[in-house]
Subunit: 95 residues, 2 copies
């Protein structure tokens, strides 16, 4: 199944994962689990987070790098440009 960035972004947990990686890049699965738990009160299984990371990776929003038995995750905002390319966002939002 093809995962679009729109599907990937349509989940608050995945958005929090992106926030986490944006603030501290290169975290492992277990690190993301613990930071999500302590900073956002998320009580999710490791597998749940793993699946979320899989979706984000398929969408190209997260890049990974294996070293030994660890897998490091990096936030890649580049695919988000598809949104602004499709619907240009006005500079200012003054009502």
């Amino acid at each position: 199944m093809v995962v679009t960035i729109f599907r990937a972004l349509d989940d608050e947990t995945r958005r929090l994962v992106l926030d986490e990686l944006a603030s501290r890049d290169g975290q492992t699965l277990f690190e993301i689990c613990s930071t999500l738990a302590t900073r956002h009160g998320l009580s999710l299984t490791r597998q749940a987070i793993s699946q979320h990371l899989g979706v984000l990776e398929e969408a190209g929003l997260v890049m990974t790098e294996r070293r030994g038995r660890s897998k490091f995750h990096y936030f890649n905002p580049a695919p988000l440009a598809e949104i602004t390319r499709r619907w240009p966002i006005p500079e200012r939002t003054d009502p």
Copy 2:
């Protein structure tokens, strides 16, 4: 239920509706139905499109204006700024 812009964008039909309104603003429900059918081969019920428009309106991506028995729909890209505000998009995407 609260409809976020992320949920609203996570549907190709809704994205096509936004494209349609972006290219020709102020269309009615029936106009959107026919243009989607002719230009994208979408064979959906009027109610389906109506529900999509409802979701887009709840998310603030579509503004409406009633005149008589017609309801005109306008694309409002302003809420999309939430995305770039949360995750700044790099200017260029040269690899």
